[in-house]
């Protein structure tokens, strides 16, 4: 893919756009007041005539009044085939991402895989090299698990500073689904492992024949070869008919349109695990095989897309927390830039390596300026770091795995702004 842009590269374009918009800080209009003809005491028009019957839409879609969509950022990539789109996190309810709003990351566009012609090959250091058709995979004992997937470059545009307009772009390479499929362990059991097996190469069937190396211990732990997503077939953009689900690990290794698994005795060192998806440190050396997405969180309401304009009083601060190491155990929220914190309520069930919804009630006084932050902790004791701590450890050029405490500036007029502060 094309390199993700750094703030200064984006700045000219951003400044031009901001200048063109003219009214920095001005926000969206308040909610429409509605048509009095539909409001009490009148009977609304939809109650006075028959609506469409069943199977008017044999495959249903959402209300025509709902407008949340995936968006992409043109300056990030040269084209839309090797590119990324972002989930509108501010519009997400609960912890499951609507399949149609699931972020996309492709390296060669979305292939139109014919399920009858799909095959998965398992070979290399195995006792019995095998080929599976889709019905073979579906005959094996299945599992369903709810897990988040996050591109490790999520937020990577902000290592040097705040430059994105809202939570869709600061954190939207993140989604969570119920995935159904077969434990990878079961497929490896069908093929049998040679004693010297230690790593796997997993390969997609798209136009980039995308590959990554995965250590065998993870493959035998919780990896799923998935054909189901949120109660239906995995979406084409998510790897139809079969993708890998690698719980807690960077999205890049969740190979989509999976076609081949080769068992080997060492990693392959392919392009997507050397040139990309390695983390460059200030000394010029890069960390390799940095798989885990560490504990992270962000407030999704209020946020730049959900300002508080004209609505003083009760505010439910709500957001999402997640950890690739396991369950989120606590989320703290601050409204004063990290001076004082209080623990948020976590929505049950809290699942390992899944999005976790947190909420905390708050009274916003009109005219009050506030710095809203959330800080998550996970069951391994890891605590989400400040930007200062993260930059101290890794500098600003590592692109991937940015999990810093995020700050929204709530202006006195209710506008919410993406900022970074001195901690």
């Amino acid at each position: 893919m094309t390199e993700l842009q750094r703030p200064r590269a984006a700045s000219r374009r951003g400044l031009l756009k901001a200048a063109a918009a003219g009214t920095l800080g001005a926000g969206a209009a308040t909610a429409a007041e509605g048509d009095p003809a539909n409001l009490p005491p009148n009977t609304p028009e939809w109650a006075k005539a028959l609506g469409p019957g069943v199977i008017e839409e044999a495959y249903g879609t959402r209300s025509r009044h709902e407008t949340a969509v995936r968006r992409y950022v043109p300056w990030l990539t040269q084209d839309r085939q090797s590119s990324v789109s972002f989930t509108p996190l501010a519009e997400m309810h609960g912890i499951i991402t609507a399949s149609g709003l699931h972020f996309e990351r492709h390296h060669g566009g979305v292939p139109d895989v014919v399920p009858a012609d799909w095959r998965l090959m398992v070979h290399g250091l195995v006792e019995r090299p095998l080929q599976f058709a889709l019905e073979d995979i579906k005959r094996l004992p299945s599992v369903s698990r709810i897990h988040f997937i996050e591109c490790p470059a999520n937020g990577g545009m902000e290592w040097r500073g705040a430059q994105m307009s809202g939570v869709q772009f600061t954190h939207g390479m993140l989604s969570c689904s119920e995935w159904t499929g077969v434990p990878l362990k079961a497929l490896l059991g069908q093929a049998g492992l040679k004693p010297n097996a230690s790593w796997l190469l997993v390969e997609g069937g798209d136009a980039s024949l995308m590959t990554r190396s995965i250590p065998l211990a993870k493959a035998l732990d919780d990896v799923i070869v998935a054909y189901g997503q949120n109660g239906e077939a995995v979406r084409p953009q998510q790897g139809y008919p079969v993708r890998l689900v690698v719980p807690g690990w960077e999205g890049n290794v969740w190979i989509k349109w999976l076609r081949r698994i080769e068992v080997g005795d060492r990693p392959w060192y392919h392009r997507e695990e050397t040139r990309h998806y390695t983390d460059l440190m200030p000394d010029g050396r890069a960390r390799k095989f940095t798989f885990v997405n560490e504990v992270n969180s962000v407030i999704t309401a209020p946020c730049p897309e959900k300002p508080l304009r004209g609505k003083p009083g009760f505010v439910e601060i709500s957001g999402l927390a997640w950890s690739g190491a396991g369950r989120v155990t606590r989320v703290d929220v601050s409204v004063d830039g990290g001076d004082n914190w209080r623990a948020a309520q976590l929505q049950e069930p809290v699942l390992g390596k899944a999005l976790t919804r947190f909420r905390v009630p708050w009274e916003w006084r009109e005219g009050q300026r506030a710095f809203l932050q959330s800080r998550a902790m996970d069951e391994t004791g890891r605590v989400q770091p400040t930007f200062a701590a993260l930059r101290k450890a890794r500098g600003v050029e590592s692109i991937y795995h940015k999990n810093a405490i995020h700050t929204w500036l709530l202006e006195p007029d209710g506008t919410v702004v993406n900022v970074q502060i001195d901690a």
Partner: protein, 258 residues
């Protein structure tokens, strides 16, 4: 003392208690964390960890394997495998027979690659540059190219054959893939102009950044969760405000092709 201050202190006390309890219950040993972040035994020997020797198998890997269920999956033939098994490992394992020259590569490159990568691999618009950047990795302008960043040469062949040319992948013959690999290496001053490349030659090329990678080194940030008066009286200072670049809202991106 104001009510809000008292509340903050109280919440702080509760938070610290919770943290202390959580820390005692949940803190993992170094070994557990290593297994979480690096679930792969590293090769012994202390030399640069790479693709030139086998990596140890995880303990008791086969013991946890489910027993095979008869009749699910069918044997795959050597011929079927050969058609799909196109990968080349970092040490060159998997390289096919064949050869190609820098000169042949140059011609192909101009026809099939230069429209994105530029005639000399300098990269046009936002397409990746393939050259330059040596000595830049520890600066604030690091440039990750074949010559400056890729640790091993055979994966250059692997990537070209599996994924290039971008719009017509898997269209190159092995000879063409060798020729293009040769030209890209030549552009990076790693092969002379009159060179020919085959499997043995490609394996023998030592890339400048071969020793530039280290294994996963996290966790590397402190597990601190102060609850109250954490700024110790320092007022909040904004170091970067996104309004320099964008309007708050959805101004960063679009739902339609631009």
């Amino acid at each position: 003392m104001s009510r809000s201050m008292r509340r903050a202190l109280l919440l702080g006390a509760i938070g610290f208690a919770a943290l202390a309890a959580g820390g005692a219950m949940r803190a993992q040993t170094g070994g557990d964390r290593a297994a979480l972040y690096r679930p792969f035994p590293l090769p012994q020997g202390g030399a640069a960890i790479g693709p030139f020797g086998a990596w140890p198998a995880p303990p008791a890997a086969s013991e946890g394997l489910p027993r095979p269920i008869a009749g699910i999956g069918r044997p795959v033939t050597a011929q079927e495998i050969a058609g799909w098994d196109v990968d080349v490992r970092g040490d060159g394992e998997g390289l096919p027979p064949g050869r190609g020259s820098v000169k042949e590569g140059e011609e192909l490159f101009v026809q099939q690659c230069a429209s994105c990568h530029g005639d000399f691999g300098e990269g046009l618009e936002r397409w990746p540059a393939l050259i330059g950047g040596r000595g830049s990795l520890n600066t604030d302008q690091p440039r990750r190219t074949v010559g400056s960043f890729w640790p091993y040469a055979p994966p250059v062949f692997d990537y070209i054959r599996r994924a290039m040319p971008y719009a017509t992948p898997m269209s190159l013959s092995n000879e063409q893939a060798y020729a293009l690999t040769a030209y890209v290496l030549h552009l990076n001053e790693l092969l002379p102009e009159d060179a020919e490349l085959d499997a043995e030659k490609l394996k023998s090329i030592r890339m400048p950044n071969r020793d530039g990678f280290v294994p996963e080194a996290r966790p590397d940030t402190p597990d601190e969760a102060c609850m109250s008066s954490c700024r110790q009286g320092r007022p909040v200072a904004v170091t970067m405000d996104s309004r320099r670049f964008v309007q708050p809202g959805s101004g960063s991106g679009f739902s339609e092709p631009q």
